[in-house]
């Protein structure tokens, strides 16, 4: 123990004392220095002891210079000045002299005094109230429980509760607005929160009444926006109510005249709002939401309005959610949707209309994903090439590139440039094209029907958004003839050149359709083989194409969106889902098999 004690204290060595004495011009004998050193140690410990008392009474864990100075002052020793700075003082050493010192820069007082950037005053001390509702075990309230003991509410609260619910669910819009406003700002309704949550959970019983659903959602919004309410795990309950409105095939949606789409949109917005503002209250909320959205999306039995809800929900949760959930599902899902959209029977008209809704929603979501992806990639590119593997790894459902192999900057900047140029180009003429530098079996196969189709009718010039985010290894200047990603890098004349070349390639690949693509890929990019097959498709490529006439579809196709598949896809998605399609889209006739249908989205106007 003694050893430990010894080590726990600061020791001032004899040499230090001598040095300090020398610095003031006193020459000390060894024994004197030793005695002094010992005394200094003792006094130091004493001061530390006393100062810790000041620290304890100030209810702090950290001993400050101030504490030590107080201790010194009370033991009638001069305080040490100049060390009261809030931030840590750097401790430096000089190698030659084995000296350690605190850096003490000179401060130009004149400059300081005449400085124009006068520091702002400290923030005002405030009393902030944080209310926690607790159960007996020290946990924040478990979810979903709604108290039955209404009588424990005070009369005033009870009255307030009745008034508010009546006003919100009643038919006076003015009154409703007042009630919602009050709900949004009232600071004393904490005790009523469970009741309101309970009311809101009544969405399930009014699913036939869009108006009521709307009002309940507004109620949610007010509660969420109330700064005085601590929602705690009621967030869960609120979220489940909102999710109900987003996802469920509401009774109201049977009637096509009912605009349940708006409700779903609103609910999705609300969901994201709740999530961004209160998502931290419940752990794992994000994943739960994503899971349930995913479940709906992947369930082909669900009606299209549910799917629509899932897509807008994902969209509202941000592009990452889209990337994580929607994107991997898209190929599989697309087959079903395609089938619905391509059914022109009268009986299918309603379903098809719904299908277009979903299609539109997917387009919007994906477009956002593309933009954000581009932005994030551009940021990472600016941040330096080293970021690239990270961005690649960050994508969940597919791989942007194989981190170990890809050359950092070149492809990235290309991608950025490409996206940017296309976005800026706006309405610049640019026929739809699709170019995939990294050939994959699925992609090659897909080019087959689409490539030629696209290139045949490019009469109308429409804004085109093409993102090619392939980041593939081709740093070594592989002997390839065409310029790197033409659709991205090319502008003006260069672009047309690139286009033609890409078209050529498409064609050439299409001519070889049926072949396994390995050979093709080697043609185009010899290095592609570095991308090991088991690591999934190394490229992801979107094309939202310009408007044109479809070859097989009678309708116009103003946009074409292409998605590369991920290798984790089932090899035969169209077929796998084909037999389910009648159920999904309520299409009577068998589905025509499109080899690549699950890669493209067509939105007929």
């Amino acid at each position: 123990m003694a050893d430990r004690e010894e080590r726990r204290f600061a020791e001032v060595s004899r040499d230090s004392v001598k040095l300090m004495a020398e610095s003031t011009g006193v020459d000390l004998a060894d024994d004197v220095a030793a005695l002094l050193a010992e005394d200094v140690c003792y006094r130091l410990r004493e001061a530390a002891q006393t100062s810790s008392q000041f620290m304890r009474h100030a209810k702090r864990r950290k001993l400050t210079v101030e504490d030590l100075n107080r201790a010194l002052r009370w033991s009638r020793v001069e305080a040490v000045c100049g060390y009261g700075a809030q931030d840590a003082l750097p401790f430096r050493s000089v190698k030659e002299g084995e000296l350690f010192f605190v850096e003490d820069r000179e401060i130009n007082l004149i400059e300081l005094a005449l400085a124009t950037n006068i520091p702002k005053g400290c923030a005002e001390t405030m009393v902030r109230v944080n209310v926690a509702y607790l159960d007996g075990k020290g946990n924040v309230e478990p979810q979903g429980t709604v108290p039955t003991a209404v009588q424990t509410l005070s009369d005033d609260l009870l009255k307030y509760y009745q008034q508010i619910t009546r006003a919100i669910l009643g038919d006076d819009p003015h009154l409703m607005k007042m009630a919602l406003l009050d709900l949004q700002s009232n600071s004393k309704i904490a005790a009523l929160l469970p009741y309101f949550v309970y009311v809101i959970s009544g969405v399930k019983s009014v699913s036939h009444d869009l108006e009521q659903l709307n009002r309940l959602l507004h109620m949610v919004k007010s509660l969420v926006q109330n700064p005085y309410l601590y929602l705690g795990s009621y967030v869960r309950s609120l979220v489940s109510s909102v999710m109900y409105c987003i996802l469920e095939p509401l009774a109201a949606s049977i009637n096509p005249l009912n605009d349940h789409w708006t409700l779903r949109d609103y609910a999705a917005l609300l969901l994201s709002h709740i999530f961004w503002t209160h998502g931290d209250l419940v752990s794992g909320l994000y994943h739960q939401i994503l899971l349930s959205l995913q479940k709906v999306l992947s369930d082909p039995v669900r009606p299209l309005c549910s799917h629509y809800g899932a897509v807008v929900g994902l969209h509202a949760l941000g592009w990452k959610a889209v990337e994580r959930v929607l994107f991997p599902h898209l190929p599989a899902y697309w087959a079903n949707l395609q089938a619905v959209l391509d059914d022109y029977s009268v009986s299918n008209a309603q379903v098809k209309a719904d299908g277009h809704k979903v299609y539109g929603a997917i387009l919007v979501a994906v477009e956002r994903l593309l933009k954000m992806k581009a932005v994030s990639l551009s940021q990472s590119a600016e941040g330096g090439s080293s970021c690239q593997p990270g961005s690649g790894a960050g994508s969940a459902g597919y791989r942007v590139g194989s981190p170990g192999l890809s050359p950092p900057s070149e492809p990235l900047s290309e991608a950025v440039l490409g996206i940017a140029s296309h976005l800026q180009a706006g309405g610049a003429g640019c026929p739809w094209e699709e170019w995939s530098p990294v050939p994959l079996p699925a992609m090659e196969a897909r080019k087959d029907p689409l490539g030629p189709a696209a290139n045949t009718d490019t009469a109308r010039k429409m804004p085109q958004l093409t993102a090619n985010l392939n980041i593939s290894p081709r740093q070594d200047g592989s002997p390839r003839t065409d310029p790197p990603p033409p659709s991205l890098a090319a502008t003006g004349a260069g672009r047309s050149l690139a286009r033609s070349s890409s078209v050529q390639r498409s064609r050439s690949s299409s001519s070889r359709s049926g072949q396994r693509s390995a050979s093709v890929s080697r043609d185009v990019f010899p290095k592609a083989r570095f991308i090991s097959p088991q690591s999934g498709p190394p490229a992801f490529s979107f094309v939202i194409g310009g408007r044109q006439m479809g070859r097989r579809c009678q309708g116009r196709r103003p946009f074409q969106t292409t998605f590369s598949s991920s290798s984790s896809l089932p090899a035969n998605p169209p077929r796998a889902y084909a037999h389910k399609l009648p159920v999904i889209g309520r299409v009577g006739k068998p589905v025509r098999r499109w080899t690549c249908s699950h890669y493209s989205l067509y939105l007929p106007l």
Binding site: M1, A2, D3, E5, E6, R8, F9, E38, D39, C41, Y42, R45, E46, Q49, Q53, F54, R56, H57, A58, K59, R60, R61, E66, R70, W74, C122, A123, E124, T125, M126, V127, R128, V129, N130, V131, A132, Y133, L134, D135, G136, K137, G138, E141, P147, A149, Q151, T152, S154, A190, A191, P194
Partner: protein, 750 residues
């Protein structure tokens, strides 16, 4: 370090509290000494026990010494009063008496920053021994020499280790049942032997001795050992407070007769005079008949700086009952309550009425008489407040352990987060939870209104003249609406504000600070009314009495002082603690004051007599929180060791130990009905304990009040009702509202 400062000695203080006779009519520092005399019979009793014959004369000698001191300082009036009070004949004031206490006088004249306890010891030493105390008047700290002179006896330094290890071997060889008890001797013996070595300049031996045996000591003495270990030179012994504590107070051990005989026989057989002398001189062995105590029993009670409390120290009768509430049944109020009664709370109402009714009919046998301490009369506004309180308490949520889960929704905990910039050091909330005040390290005191009602100042004198004083709403009219704001800042202190307390009527605020003052602020004008100067060192805590008017403060000078708001000097000085008084609390009946100290003891003082009536030992660290249960029977204390201990005041026993916190406990509070104890700590948690159960278990137990040997079961986990984490906010203050909502306050430390 209760400084005896001759400069601000006032000849005499009119210290009678209204009708009370001036029993303690001394000036500041004299009262201090008198407090020592009356408040700690321990010291004289300690001496008296060893030398029973010397007891009474010594007492008188001490008195004489004090008288001499007074005379020397030309405080004849005070001296006269003391003489009269003590019933001494006139002639004691003549120079003849001075001889007997000459040494004390000689040194007393020129000490300025001396130590009260040192002074006392000097007086007792010189009075009792006389020849033994070589006083060198004129030296800067002669008193220390006197104190240390006890160590002058010289044994062979080389033999110390042999002695100690011999005793150690012996104790290790005795029967198990005695070993635990006899092991208590180790620590004080070790300390005193070490100090003797140091005093006699055997530095090397001292170091070796320390290194060899310090590891054997109980872990809860680690703090003291650390201080000791840094002390290796005689010169350093001067002014070392811990050292003085060891010398001036006898370390108290409780040992059964059998064990004691065993030890005595051993030491006498071996002719081990060195150890025997130390035991005789520096230890007080409280011998009891009966079974030796077990290790856990001993561990529960030990840990204090000076050992356990003597049994007789806790024998005095304590009137822990509550005072009768004044009857303020207004007819209007009755109707109101009746109406509420009909609405469906007859159950809660009834016991309430019963309890108040019974109280008003017959006096609680344990309660002090109503006029034992003169209390201020109730004002109309106080009565109104009481009515409000009664009304609210009927709406109180019962927070028993079983209901806690059921009423979870209505048991919220609020945290008041404050900006951390200035360093929040103290918080208080008014009884009705309408105001909250914070003391800060930047010397400011801030008051916030928690309700929508803003804080307003009273208008200026000129404006007040214009007001129609006959109007009904004159109280409203005197307020200046222009000054309305949510918070007010009070400037006046010149050091961190360590303690803060609202008066019960919410008109005043007390704050104490490092600048050694206690300040009284008006919450009507938001200005400082009085600065109470008396403590000469930082004041750590202050609190208003539950009836207002009086307040208590305690600080680094090791004394607690009782003040009345209209007196600029203290009415009582409670001296006896061996280290800083870190927290002070009033008993709900205002007749007693509890103080917690860095010497790891809690003392209960009688406000009327100034005596120490209870000493509670058992904490292993400085005590930073105290709370009386609402019924006045129990006391809860929290310390830096993270434990909450529960004490039965009537029996003077430890009745519970609540383990769970990992860091220093800064706040304790019982719920309004006393069913729940909340504890807030530096570890960013609030814990709730089932106080009812803790106290109930006890009454069914076989109460070993006679011996005072408690046996605590370790049931902290059963008693813990909940642990509530804050957002990195050390909990500085807890407050149960009248409806039993728990408010926790602290500064947010991101």
């Amino acid at each position: 370090m209760a400084a005896v400062q001759g400069s601000i000695v006032d000849a005499k203080e009119e210290a009678d509290i209204k009708s009370e006779p001036a029993t303690d009519g001394f000036g500041n520092n004299h009262a201090n000494e008198a407090g020592v005399l009356s408040a700690s019979p321990g010291s004289s009793a300690a001496a008296g026990n060893n030398k029973p014959a010397a007891g009474a004369p010594e007492d008188q000698q001490t008195l004489l010494a004090v008288l001499q001191f007074l005379r020397k300082n030309k405080l004849s009036e005070s001296a006269e009063i003391l003489r009269r009070e003590a019933g001494l004949p006139e002639e004691v004031l003549d120079p003849k008496g001075a001889d007997s206490a000459g040494s004390g006088l000689g040194s007393g004249a020129d000490i300025d920053g001396g130590d009260a306890s040192a002074l006392l010891s000097r007086v007792t030493v010189s009075a009792a021994g006389g020849a033994k105390a070589p006083t060198k008047a004129g030296e800067d700290q002669p008193d220390v020499n006197v104190v240390l002179s006890a160590y002058s006896q010289q044994g062979d330094p080389a033999l110390y280790e042999v002695y100690y290890s011999g005793l150690k071997k012996f104790i290790e060889s005795v029967l198990d049942c005695h070993r635990a008890e006899l092991s208590q001797v180790f620590y004080p013996l070790f300390v005193h032997m070490y100090l003797e070595l140091v005093y006699n300049n055997h530095e090397g031996e001292a170091k070796a001795f320390f290194e060899k045996f310090s590891g054997d000591q109980e872990c809860y003495y680690e703090e003291d050992l650390r201080i000791l270990s840094s002390l290796t030179k005689k010169e350093h012994m001067r002014g070392n407070e811990t050292l003085l504590d060891f010398r001036t107070s006898k370390f108290v051990l409780r040992i059964s007769r059998d064990s004691y005989q065993l030890l005595k026989r051993h030491l006498q057989e071996r002719q081990n005079n060195q150890i025997w002398n130390i035991i005789q001189e520096h230890l007080y062995i409280d011998i009891f008949d009966g079974m030796p105590r077990s290790k856990s029993q001993i561990d529960a009670m030990s840990g204090s700086l000076a050992g356990e409390a003597k049994r007789e120290a806790n024998k005095a009768k304590v009137y822990y009952g509550l005072l009768k509430e004044p009857e303020i049944e207004l007819p209007l109020d009755d109707e109101d309550e009746e109406a509420e009664n009909e609405e469906g709370k007859p159950k809660k109402k009834k016991p309430k009425k019963d309890s108040t009714g019974s109280k008003s009919k017959k006096q609680d046998p344990n309660a002090p008489s109503q006029t034992r301490i003169p209390l201020p009369e109730l004002k109309d506004s106080d009565k109104l407040d009481k009515i409000m309180y009664m009304k609210e308490s009927t709406k109180r949520i019962l927070v028993g352990a079983d209901q806690l889960v059921a009423i979870s929704f209505f048991f919220p905990s609020f945290s008041f987060f404050m900006s951390p910039l200035q360093g929040l050091t103290a918080v208080d909330v008014t009884d009705d939870s309408s105001l909250i005040a914070g003391g800060f390290a930047d010397s400011t005191v801030r008051v916030w209104s928690v309700t929508p009602k803003k804080l307003r100042k009273v208008k200026t004198a000129a404006d007040l003249n214009l007001i129609d004083k006959e109007s009904d709403d004159v109280l409203e009219r005197i307020m200046d609406d222009k000054t309305a704001s949510e918070s007010k800042c009070l400037y006046g202190h010149s050091g961190p504000v360590y303690g803060i307390s609202f008066s019960p009527d919410r008109n005043y605020l007390l704050s104490c600070s490092e600048d050694a003052t206690v300040r009284l602020w008006s919450l009507l004008t938001f200005t400082c009314l009085v600065g109470y100067k008396g403590h000469n060192y930082p004041v750590w805590d202050t609190q208003f009495s539950p009836y207002g008017y009086y307040f208590i403060s305690g600080g680094h000078d090791r004394v607690a002082r009782l003040w009345a708001t209209d007196h600029h000097q203290p009415l009582r000085i409670f001296a006896g603690h061996l280290a800083d008084v870190t927290c002070t609390r009033f008993h709900p009946n205002a007749n007693y004051v509890a103080t917690g100290s860095s010497d790891r003891t809690i003392r209960l003082w009688d406000v009327l007599t100034g005596n120490c009536v209870r000493i509670f030992t058992g904490h292993k660290g400085p005590i930073h929180a105290l709370a009386f249960s609402p019924n006045g029977k129990f006391l809860a204390s929290g310390a830096t060791d993270g434990r909450v201990l529960l004490w039965d005041i009537g029996h003077g026993l430890m009745v519970g130990e609540l383990k769970g916190h990992t860091e220093c406990i800064y706040s304790l509070r019982f719920s309004r009905d006393g069913e729940i104890l909340g504890s807030g700590s530096m570890d960013n948690t609030v814990r709730l304990w089932d106080a009812m159960k803790a106290f109930d278990d006890l009454e069914t137990d076989d109460f070993t009040a006679a011996t005072g040997h408690i046996h605590l079961q370790d049931n902290s986990q059963e008693l813990l009702l909940g642990t509530y984490m804050t957002k990195s906010t050390p909990v500085v203050h807890l407050h149960f509202t009248r409806r039993n909502l728990l408010l926790a306050a602290g500064a947010y430390n991101p």
